[in-house]
Every structure is written in structure tokens, then in C-alpha cells.
């Protein structure tokens, strides 16, 4: 069962993403900010990371950069969940090594559909 790390500072978004993923048969681990996400990532292996961009302590872009430095995460897909659909945000995400982005508002059907593009 593919295992997904969900990082978001908003409880409700985290719950919703997790709920959606679990209902589709994925296994999830949650973290409430980038720092916690990094710690969780170091402690286990994941098939996908979905992370918010704006978070306290460590933002999603930094988390992405940090994850890419870790050998087990070199090729792991990392999706940024963001409301900022601007080209600039996407460029920054790409530069940090993000695989792609999901534009909020969060939509469960779309999430599941797009995840297929990055997880086997």
C-alpha cells in the first residue's frame, strides 16, 4: 500500500487530505509543519509527499529542498498543495525540486486523479 506523507499547518486541510487518501486505500502519515515533516520523513520511507507551502517554522519550499538532499527522497514525488497558482510560485517549487503542485481549493477527486500521475 503506497505510503504518503501529508504536511499542512491547517488541521482541517490535513484531516481532509488524509481522509481522502485513506478512503482511496493509501496509507498516510501527517505532520503539522515543514520541520515535523522532515523529522517524519527521516524516520520512514514514503512513496509521495504532499505539502502545503505556507507554514510556520519551516515552509514547504524549504522542506522540499531539505528532502531532496536526503538520498531516499532523491526521486520521491513531492507535490505542493498551494493556493498560489502564480507562475512564480511554481518556478520556486520546481527550483526546490518539487514534482508538481495541486492548486487549492482542495478537491478530493482531483487529488486522487492527479496522484496517479506520480505514484505507481
Amino acid at each position: 500500500m503506497p505510503k504518503i506523507l501529508v504536511v499542512d499547518d491547517s488541521n482541517s486541510i490535513r484531516d481532509m487530505v488524509s481522509f481522502t487518501l485513506k478512503s482511496a486505500g493509501y496509507d498516510t502519515v501527517e505532520a503539522k509543519d515543514g520541520q515535523e515533516g522532515l523529522t517524519r520523513a527521516q524516520a520512514g520511507s514514503f512513496d509521495l509527499v504532499i505539502s502545503d507551502v505556507n507554514m510556520p517554522i519551516m515552509d514547504g519550499i524549504t522542506l522540499c529542498q531539505e528532502l531532496r538532499k536526503l538520498a531516499p527522497f532523491k526521486f520521491t514525488p513531492i507535490l505542493m498543495l498551494t493556493t498560489e497558482s502564480s507562475g512564480d510560485m511554481k518556478m520556486r517549487g520546481k527550483a526546490a525540486g518539487a514534482t508538481g503542485w495541486l492548486v487549492k481549493p482542495f478537491n478530493p477527486e482531483k487529488l486522487l486523479a492527479t496522484i496517479k500521475r506520480v505514484v505507481r
Partner: protein
């Protein structure tokens, strides 16, 4: 597959309210170049917008987007932190709160206020229209041309070598394409270097793909490559449709399918927005109702896990005690009495602890009520032009949720009062040798079984003469009456009393101090004033910790048992003949040191038949109680135990009874009434006046003369 997210709406609401509170308090404390605070405010707005969008609350999303944009400009340093903007943001937070409350309560909101603030935000953003929200009237019309037949798409995909290092995998992209129709994949390995030169972490292949599909559009295809479009060369061309019977290809051919990626980006983004909106609306509308309804009805409380843990422990112990007792009962004989006694003792202990723990669940730190004051002081300060600092103390002091809800409004009034009447204008303060900045202190602490909330200002204090003169003018006090300071201060609680020269929109809102006092009394509390001219005033509100349980003194009157709230009792004594004074007819006073205390005979008041009534007043039991600064002596037959009683409402179970605040059930199963001391005093005074006036009338004097 459809995922129903409506169960998360209550979560979203709770989180939004937390976010709004954070935004408000942070805005109030916002200083120049405080990046961390502004980021926190931004994040809160951002989360609310994201959540609202998810559930289809588009009006919230739209409004919050402007707030977020403004905050973003501040955060990026494009916009200095100006007081005007902060004020606007505070008003915007109010608006957001109103919108979210309307969702929670399924009620309407003040649309004019929202529109007005929305316009102000637009103006603040230099008349700039919000970018994300330009939702096109309809989605692009190139999509539905080929319903009747298959279209064939040729796709060339030449990724950059490092593509896989961002976690993208061409195979998965092709799988996604295959879902659109029939896909043929042809790999081009001509760029593959020799095995010695190849880097296993790089990608050297490129692909020619053919997609035959009924409903694929260029947008759908591009969407699959959305995340890699700037890391590859991508061309998409449409071949002549096959099986082309009776359908138009006009639009498809007009649409130059080799147009550059940049141009289509826009339409993809737009398409995403509309698609989301269409998908989510029906889901949320249908499901939101039950979720929010139950919330309105029940209300909820957040409880620390430690409190729940302690409850679970206690219940565990209770179960053990119960099983021990029931085991004793199965085969009981006299030798087991000792064990029974100790078992019952244990039960008593368990019950007591359980009761305390349950009560603690309803307890919230008073910061819940205090949180609104920084904003209030900020706004009032702006309105009155006074510079005021608010100091909060004892915010962690816990108070029953119900009491908290009901004390909130009286506290607001007292604080408004302190700003309006208490704190002097800066020039007056300076002239009197004080700092220009006034201070209002809110302090909460426990005292005995009750909680005390102090509202203290360092203003001019209550003007004794002004209050006195006003009271005389209103006919509340006879001219020339000699009153103590405290008696004069008490006058401001009289109905319709106000010393303000003119009614300002701050305190003159049709609610006076009399209502404040009434509300506090309705909670079983009391309010006291302490004031020193030139130094300020302190209003001290004393409240019971909870409305559900009361410490009471049981008293016997005839065959009835009554409960006197312990908090009201000053002392209990046996009367002495020489200290009894009969004045004008039925009024009997008892000399208690320097006071003369009216005696209220409970028998007469409630019409109880009793032999003990025959007892002469000279050796009766008197329970001296105090309410509203007035002492009275209740005449009773006997003092019984003191105990905690669970209050049952009479209003709910029967009807309101004058002089009675509620009832309880005693250990023997009988019902006992709880005396409402302030009500009782009022009742007794009315009775005494009536008797007096009827007496006067009977001897031919006009009753109106008294």
C-alpha cells in the same frame, strides 16, 4: 469516486474562528518590520481562504482573497505597515467573522457592510482587481467538438535529462494519457549515450505518442504534462478526425494546436477554477445542513485530554467500588458491616472526586472572555481619542462555561464605562500630574468558592457630589440625606442613572449599570465599587464558579426545609430581647452591633403553618444574609447541615416563583427550595410597604403621601 468532505465543515469553522482570533490579536500588536507576526496573520487568512474554497463558500474565499493580497503586500515589503491598513484589516477580520458565523448559524449577514469593506479593500489595493477571481463566464469552447468521433493526437515529448530528479516519471504520465483513450507509445533512443557516458540518474529518451480518443482535448492532454511543461519540449498536434460522420471539426481546426505553451497556460488555470466550483457546490450545499444544525443546538467545548483522562480513571475506580459493594450485598451478614462502611466511604470519595472532575470539564480559562478586550480598548481608544493601555491578569483562572457566556456582556459594559467615565482625557491627566496614557486592568482570581473579576481604571474616580446631586435631582435620594461613600457609589446602579453630560455612543446604548447589576445578580453574583477621587475606580465582580452546584445552608421553617446560599450568609445568631426594635407597625428591626437589620419572617412570607411560629421573637434563630449591600435577618426554626446542592431550575420544571431561585432534591428524596436572597429582600420590602400603606389608608390618610 466521490469523497464527501462535509464532515470536516465543523473543523473548518472551529479552525477559522481560531485563525480570526489570532489575526485580530496579532493585528493589535503589529509593529513595523515584525515579519513573524505579519506572516502568522497571512497564514491564518491563507488557511481560511483555502478551507472556504474547499467547501464552496465562495463569498468567503473571494473576500479573504483581498485580505490576503493586502497582507501579502505588507509581507513582501511592497507596502509599509500603516495604521489605516491595520484598521481596515481589523474591520475585515470582523467581516470574515460575520461571514463564517453566518455559515455556522445558517443565518444571513450584513451584506452592505461586507460590500463596503470589500470596496475599501479594493481601493486600498490601488483599485487593482483581484487576479484569481476573474472567473470566466464560461469555460473555453474548444472542448466539445468531437463528441461524435475519434480524434487522433500526435504528441512529441522530449524531456530534459534531469526530469526524473523532480520525482516525475514519464511512464506514469503515459498511463494518465492512456486513460483518455487508446495510446501508442514509440520511444526514441537516438540520444542515448554509450553505457560508459550515461548517468543513471538522467533521462536520455524521448517519445512520440499517438492518442486516439473520443473526448481528449488539447487542454486535457496538456494537463497531464502540466508539471513538466517547462522541463520538456512538448508539441501536440491534432490529425484529421477519423470515422468523421456528420460532425463539425470547425472549432478544432480553427484552434491552432501548435500554439506555444505560454498561451494555453491561462486557459488551463481558468478551467481548473471553474471545474472545481462546479464539482464542489452541490456536495457542500446538500451536506452542510445537518452538520451545522447540530452544532447550533448542542454547542461544543474543547477539553484538555488530561481532564478526560482523570474522568476515565475515576469512573474506573467507581466501577471497582460498585463491584465490591454488590459483592458484599449478595451474602450479607452483620460481620460485614465494617467493610460496608468503608466501601460506602470510598463511594463517597469517588462520587465527590467525580463531581469535581465533571465540573472541571465545563471550566474554561477566563482568557476566553478577556480576549475580546484588547480589540475593544483599541476601538474605544480611537473613538474617544484617549490613549489607553489594557493590562490583563489571571487569564488562566477557570470559570464555568455558562457563567463565562453570561458575564461577558456585563464585563464589556464595565470596560466601556471605565473608558468613557473613568479615564480622563490626556490633557486633564497631564494637568493632574498623571501619565497621558490611562491604564485599565482586568484581573481575575479565585477567592473561596467564587471567582472575582476586577475592572480597575486609574482615572479620576467617581465624583461623589455629582452622583449625589444627580440622585437627589432624580428623586432617588432625599435632599440632605447623609450617605456613606459606598452608598453613594451604589446609586449608579439605579435604573436610569447616568452622570455622563451627554449620552455618548459608547456607554449610552440603552443599557445601564442597573442591567449590569441585574445580570450579575441573576448569576448569583454581586458587584462592589471602590473609588478614590483622582486615583481611579475598581469594580469588583464576585461570581460563583458554576451555576450547577451551590454551597448551601439548610434551614428548617415549620415542616419545610429551605436552602440559603452560603455565600450570602453573614452570620447566624440567637436573638436577644433587648436588641429587638419594633418600628412603625409590622416592621421589626434587630440591632446587630452598629446596624439595624430588618427581620424577615419566612413563615409569613410563604404562608407556612407552624407551631414554632408561636415562639416569641425574643429567642428565635436569625440567619443574617446580605445582598445588594443590604442586610436582613431571616427568621427560621432551626439550622440544619451545610451541604453542596445540585440546582434544579424551577422555571424549566414548574414556573418562576418570587423569592425562590431554584430547587434541589435532598438525600431523603424530598424537594427543598433555594432562597433567592435579593428577590426575598425586595419581596419583603414590598409587603412591608403595602401593609403600611393599607394601614395608613384605613386611618384615613392618603396612601400616596408616603
Amino acid at each position: 469516486m466521490s469523497v464527501d468532505l462535509s464532515q470536516f465543515i465543523p473543523n473548518f469553522l472551529a479552525e477559522s474562528f481560531e485563525g480570526l482570533e489570532l489575526m485580530e490579536s496579532s493585528l493589535l500588536n503589529l509593529e513595523q518590520d515584525d515579519d513573524e507576526t505579519i506572516n502568522a496573520i497571512f497564514r491564518a487568512a491563507h488557511s481560511i481562504k483555502g478551507g472556504a474554497g474547499t467547501f464552496g463558500f465562495d463569498h468567503v474565499t473571494e473576500f479573504t482573497h483581498l485580505v490576503e493580497t493586502l497582507l501579502d503586500e505588507m509581507r513582501n515589503g511592497q507596502r509599509a505597515i500603516k495604521q489605516d491598513d491595520v484598521e481596515l484589516l481589523l474591520v475585515s477580520v470582523d467581516c470574515m467573522k460575520m461571514l463564517i458565523e453566518a455559515i455556522r448559524d445558517e443565518s444571513d449577514y450584513d451584506k452592505d457592510k461586507i460590500d463596503e469593506t470589500y470596496q475599501l479593500l479594493l481601493v486600498a489595493l490601488n483599485g487593482k482587481e483581484p487576479d484569481l477571481l476573474e472567473i470566466p463566464s464560461k469555460s473555453t469552447d474548444t472542448t466539445t467538438t468531437s463528441k461524435d468521433g475519434m480524434l487522433e493526437w500526435k504528441i512529441t515529448f522530449i524531456p530534459e535529462h534531469h526530469l526524473v530528479q523532480t520525482g516525475n516519471d514519464p511512464l506514469l504520465l503515459f498511463n494518465a494519457l492512456a486513460e483518455l483513450g487508446e495510446l501508442t507509445v514509440e520511444a526514441n533512443s537516438s540520444n542515448l549515450p554509450s553505457i560508459l557516458d550515461a548517468d543513471p540518474q538522467e533521462l536520455y529518451l524521448s517519445w512520440n505518442l499517438t492518442l486516439r480518443s473520443e473526448n481528449a482535448t488539447e487542454e486535457l492532454i496538456r494537463e497531464v504534462f502540466e508539471w513538466v511543461e517547462d522541463e520538456c519540449e512538448l508539441t501536440i498536434t491534432q490529425n484529421k478526425p477519423i470515422e468523421c460522420e456528420g460532425h463539425s471539426t470547425g472549432t478544432a481546426e480553427n484552434n491552432p494546436s501548435t500554439q506555444p505553451v505560454e498561451a494555453t497556460k491561462e486557459s488551463i488555470a481558468i478551467d481548473t477554477v471553474t471545474e472545481n466550483a462546479q464539482l464542489e457546490k452541490p456536495v457542500v450545499k446538500a451536506a452542510a445542513k445537518p452538520a451545522t444544525k447540530s452544532k447550533v443546538d448542542v454547542g461544543s467545548i474543547r477539553v484538555g485530554v488530561d481532564k478526560v483522562d482523570s474522568l476515565i480513571n475515576l469512573v474506573g475506580e467507581l466501577v471497582i467500588t460498585q463491584s465490591m459493594l454488590s459483592e458484599l450485598g449478595t451474602d450479607f451478614d452483620i460481620s460485614k458491616v465494617e467493610r460496608l462502611t468503608s466501601g460506602l466511604e470510598q463511594l463517597l470519595q469517588n462520587t465527590k472526586e467525580l463531581q469535581e472532575s465533571v465540573m472541571r470539564i465545563r471550566m474554561l480559562p477566563i482568557s476566553f472572555a478577556f480576549n475580546r478586550f484588547p480589540r475593544l480598548i483599541h476601538d474605544l481608544g480611537n473613538k474617544t481619542g484617549k490613549d489607553i493601555e489594557l493590562v490583563l491578569k489571571g487569564e488562566q483562572t477557570e470559570l464555568d462555561k455558562t457563567v463565562m457566556e453570561q458575564i461577558s456582556d456585563p464585563l464589556v459594559h464595565l470596560v466601556r464605562n471605565a473608558v468613557d467615565h473613568g479615564i480622563e482625557p490626556a490633557n486633564v491627566r497631564v494637568a493632574n500630574g498623571k501619565t497621558a496614557k490611562g491604564t485599565i486592568t482586568l484581573n481575575a482570581y479565585h477567592q473561596g468558592g467564587s471567582i472575582v473579576i476586577e475592572i480597575k481604571d486609574d482615572g479620576g474616580g467617581i465624583n461623589r457630589d455629582a452622583v449625589y446631586n444627580k440622585a437627589v435631582e432624580k428623586g432617588i435620594v432625599d435632599a440632605g440625606a447623609s450617605l456613606t461613600d459606598n452608598q453613594v457609589f451604589e446609586l449608579i446602579f439605579e435604573a436610569g442613572f447616568s452622570t455622563a453630560q451627554e449620552i455618548s455612543d459608547i456607554s449610552g446604548r440603552g443599557v445601564g449599570m442597573d442591567v449590569v447589576k441585574k445580570n450579575i445578580q441573576a448569576l448569583g453574583g454581586r458587584i462592589q465599587i471602590d473609588s478614590t477621587p483622582g486615583e481611579g475606580s475598581t469594580f469588583k465582580v464576585n461570581l460563583p464558579l458554576t451555576l450547577a452546584i451551590l454551597d448551601g445552608q439548610l434551614v428548617k421553617v415549620g415542616s419545610e426545609t429551605y436552602i440559603v446560599p452560603l455565600i450570602t450568609i453573614v452570620e447566624s445568631l440567637q436573638t436577644k430581647a433587648e436588641l429587638i426594635n419594633r418600628v412603625s407597625g409590622d416592621m421589626v428591626l434587630y440591632r446587630l452591633r452598629e446596624d439595624n437589620v430588618p427581620i424577615i419572617p419566612i413563615y409569613e412570607l410563604f404562608g407556612i403553618e407552624s407551631d414554632a411560629k408561636a415562639n416569641t421573637l425574643e429567642e428565635a434563630l436569625l440567619v443574617v444574609v446580605e445582598a445588594d449591600g443590604q442586610k436582613v435577618g431571616l427568621l427560621v426554626d432551626d439550622l440544619l447541615a451545610q451541604q453542596q446542592v445540585v440546582i434544579k431550575s424551577l422555571d424549566e420544571n414548574y414556573q418562576q416563583v418570587e423569592g425562590i431561585s431554584g430547587a434541589t432534591i435532598l438525600g431523603d428524596g424530598s424537594v427543598a427550595m433555594i432562597l433567592d436572597i435579593p428577590g426575598l429582600i425586595e419581596l419583603a420590602m414590598q409587603n412591608a410597604n403595602q401593609r403600611l400603606s393599607s394601614k395608613l389608608q384605613s386611618i384615613g390618610t392618603e396612601g400616596a403621601m408616603i
